[in-house]
């Protein structure tokens, strides 16, 4: 009865109720996305603290009633704030943390291509001319082996 009251704010479950191995698996998945509020950075799935165990049980119950991942994560976000979500939501200023690495990749790739072009010599201009000098060829051999 108390649970129904608490979940009133959430509205109706939008998915189908889970059970068995699927329930276990999904509980673990969602618990891995929630941050244990008392531990230093551990997920609810990994933490042995009392709060984390309660949260994991709550996730399990919500899943068995058919609540979806979004609804469950939203519920915890309501009580604990964004702090509890280990995967930053793609919303507002948080989009930056997802976009910046991609920008670095694209920018870096551009730099690499430009650098390669700058360093490249035109073909056949600097290939080593063959030599009859045994000393030089011995030197080349030794250098190639490095």
């Amino acid at each position: 009865m108390i649970v129904l009251l608490l979940l009133l704010a959430l509205g109706a479950p939008q998915g189908k109720p889970l059970s068995g191995a699927e329930l276990d698996q999904k509980t673990y998945e969602i618990a891995s996305l929630l941050r244990c509020p008392v531990c230093q950075g551990m997920s609810v799935a990994d933490s042995p603290s009392t709060v984390a165990l309660d949260m994991k049980a709550h996730v399990r119950e919500m899943l068995s009633r058919g609540y979806t991942q979004e609804q469950i994560l939203g519920y915890f976000e309501q009580s604990y704030g964004q702090f509890v979500l280990l995967k930053p939501k793609f919303r507002g200023v948080n989009t930056l943390v997802w976009i910046l690495p991609i920008l670095v990749l694209l920018g870096g790739a551009a730099v690499v291509i430009a650098t390669a072009r700058r360093l490249e010599s035109p073909p056949a201009a600097e290939s080593q001319p063959p030599t009859a000098d045994p000393y030089i060829s011995r030197v080349r051999d030794l250098v190639e082996k490095e």
Binding site: G41, M42, Q82
Partner: protein, 651 residues
């Protein structure tokens, strides 16, 4: 008296390193050989003072002299002697002293190994080293002073943090980490020397590279030890959580690895000098940033020391060093470039560029992810988290791409690859990749990234083995750098594959057992025998004993425990692990009631995880092989004291 002696030694080291630094820089400006000789003496002097100060501290610890501040903090008559010895690095003040000791060894070693050589660079290098030494001596003398005098000493002390006492790995992880971190100061000095001098000659490349490789080896192993310790001690069954302090140890490793690779292109072709130097500077700066992250208390982490005045001080040094580096690079980096070229981007050289791109991308991503919660809090006042799911989604694709590169890079020739060569480099090893991926699929791997990792791993592994085989013992004797690097690559391939397999193919089961009951997981049957309580001076433990059998045959007995430490609010579990080459069985207690003899148990089977520790050790060995200098018989390649010849790049 001991405290006063210690303080005196530290203050002396502040003066000696500051004076030595100034003498060295002046000697560099004036190109004075006498000045260099004097600077080297100051360098040895700093090292000697650090050794003496450490001896004084260990003496105080071992004689339980509680009139010395640090001993009063971590000393205890009740702990075993080896704990007393290693408590030198168990807490903040002692660990900074330890940092100074390692720095002393490195500076003295590097000064001695370069005696009579590179006289144009060494004054600047020594000047830079001693400037860093001045800062750390200042830290030990002031904000992180372990030699405070306690006027009315207690008869006994609390002992070091109990969490740090219960495992061998916790003893060796800090020294390895410091040997890695502090060691980055030496190549930093060499890089600054090249920039200050305005050139980076070919003969100086080898000392720069060796100076980078040695701390890299230590850091590689240190990171692994940290992960292994987290796995064996923390109880959640994993080895890497992307915790800020873990990331702090990884960041300099990433840039140092990139630098080691671009240094090869630098040596072969004379290009990328400025870039390699930048990476070396970055590796040093990231170690300072890393120590700030660990000690400032600003980051939410399992490992954090509590906040103290040392945080701001380190940040000021970091900012100053960063400013100095940026300005120095802006002014001098262009003078380093020589007229080298590469033939084509489709070549081994090109692959090195791509390698650097990925490593730098990894560095940025880990840095952004770690600092992002701080940014949001500073800008918007809200708290948010960037945790494991974020890092895993970002790092896995990049890591997989790097694995592919380990295969492609060595398969392509130097210079220019023809189309046939490129295709040939991909085809046969690719078959081996398909074979490995198929075996993985048959063994149950379904995660697409894991299958891709197996495919690339088989491919890269084949290429690496073939290259090692081709060289044979001749390469081991004469081309040790190349052979060593292939050993490192082989290790890296195994590490990446093992990480993929151990994270995606683990199975876990949570059960509730009463005495005598058993549960099955994988091939094992785990029977709960008994729960008993044990009281130790610093903690109250409840131990659960389990018998592990497989197919009816006894395998082992495991005893995970739940510890309630006097100083901590929540109990902390210690798991017990049965490791084999194929898989680990990991038992961790969630909750336990000795009165009713029931236990909530987490059982985890993690395949291939032991291979991670073994393969990283392999990487360390490969690095060592590459480090041992090769005696070349050729006249051209031997060190010649010819001031003009040092810029000559071999044909």
């Amino acid at each position: 008296m001991t405290a006063t002696l210690g303080r005196f030694l530290i203050l002396a080291s502040v003066f000696v390193s500051a004076a030595g630094s100034m003498v060295a820089f002046a000697a560099g400006r004036k190109r004075s050989l006498d000045g260099l000789k004097m600077a080297r003496r100051f360098a040895y002097g700093f090292a000697a003072l650090m050794v003496l100060a450490t001896i004084v501290m260990e003496f105080a610890l071992l004689t339980h002299d509680f009139s010395v501040g640090y001993v009063a903090q971590v000393g205890s008559r009740e702990v075993p002697t080896w704990v007393t010895i290693v408590s030198l690095w168990s807490s903040l003040e002692g660990s900074i002293l330890f940092w100074g000791l390692v720095m002393g060894f490195y500076i003295a070693g590097a000064t001695w190994l370069t005696r009579g050589q590179h006289e144009e660079y060494m004054p600047f290098a020594i000047g830079t080293w001693l400037a860093c030494a001045t800062f750390f001596s200042f830290l030990i003398a002031g904000p992180a002073n372990p030699f405070l005098s306690i006027p009315n000493p207690q008869p006994d002390g609390p002992g070091p943090n109990p969490l740090l006492q219960n495992h061998l790995l916790m003893i060796i992880h800090p020294p390895f980490l410091y040997l890695g971190y502090v060691g980055m100061t030496i190549p930093f000095g060499f890089a600054c020397a090249a920039l200050l001098r305005g050139r980076l000659g070919h003969s100086f490349l080898r000392p720069l590279r060796s100076a980078l490789l040695l701390p890299w080896i230590f850091l590689t192993i240190a990171i692994m030890l940290g992960g292994w310790w987290a796995y064996e001690v923390l109880g959640w069954g994993g080895y890497w959580a992307w915790d800020p302090v873990e990331n702090a140890s990884l960041l300099p490793w990433l840039t140092a690895t990139a630098a080691l690779h671009s240094a090869i292109v630098m040596e072969r072709r004379g290009v990328l000098k400025g870039w390699t130097v930048t990476l070396v500077q970055a590796s040093f700066l990231l170690t300072i940033l890393g120590t700030f992250m660990t000690r400032s208390g600003v980051f939410n982490s399992v490992h954090s020391f509590t906040q103290s005045s040392i945080g701001p001080t380190i940040l000021v040094f970091f900012s100053a060093a960063l400013l100095f580096t940026v300005v120095l690079l802006a002014l001098r980096v262009d003078s380093l470039e020589s007229e080298g070229k590469i033939d084509s981007a489709v070549s081994r050289e090109g692959m090195f560029l791509v390698n650097n791109l990925f490593f730098v991308l990894l560095t940025f991503t880990v840095l952004i992810g770690t600092c992002f919660p701080l940014i949001v809090e500073a800008v918007k006042g809200k708290q948010m988290s960037v945790g494991r799911p974020y890092f895993d989604s970002m790092v896995v694709p990049i890591g997989t791409a790097l694995l592919f590169l380990i295969g492609v890079g060595p398969a392509l020739p130097w210079g220019r690859a023809t189309k046939q060569q490129a295709l040939r480099s991909l085809s046969l090893p690719f078959v081996s990749g398909v074979v490995v991926a198929t075996i993985g699929y048959a063994a149950g791997a379904r995660n697409p990234w894991t299958l891709l990792t197996l495919l690339f791993g088989g491919y890269a592994g084949w290429v690496t083995l073939v290259e090692m085989w081709r060289g044979g013992t001749k390469t081991l004797r004469r081309g040790r750098r190349r052979f060593g690097s292939y050993v490192v690559h082989a290790g890296a391939v195994i590490v990446l594959v093992s990480i993929a397999v151990s994270s995606t193919m683990r199975t876990s089961k949570e059960v509730r057992l009463t005495r005598g009951e058993a549960a099955n997981i994988g091939p094992y049957t785990v029977t709960f025998l008994v729960a008993e309580e044990r009281t130790e001076p610093h903690r109250q433990s409840t131990i659960a004993r389990f018998a592990v059998t497989s197919n009816g045959k006894a395998v082992t007995t495991l005893e995970p425990r739940m510890n309630q430490y006097a100083m901590m609010r929540e109990p902390i579990g210690t798991p017990d692990v049965h490791s084999t080459l194929t898989r680990d069985l990991y038992l961790s207690i969630m909750n336990i009631d000795p009165n009713s003899q029931t236990v909530g148990l987490m059982m985890i089977i993690t395949p291939m995880v032991s291979w991670i520790w073994i393969a990283v050790l392999m990487m360390g060995v490969g690095g060592l092989i590459a480090l041992i200098p090769v005696r070349t018989p050729s006249l051209v390649l031997r060190e010649v004291k010819d001031p003009l010849g040092e810029d000559a790049i071999p044909v």
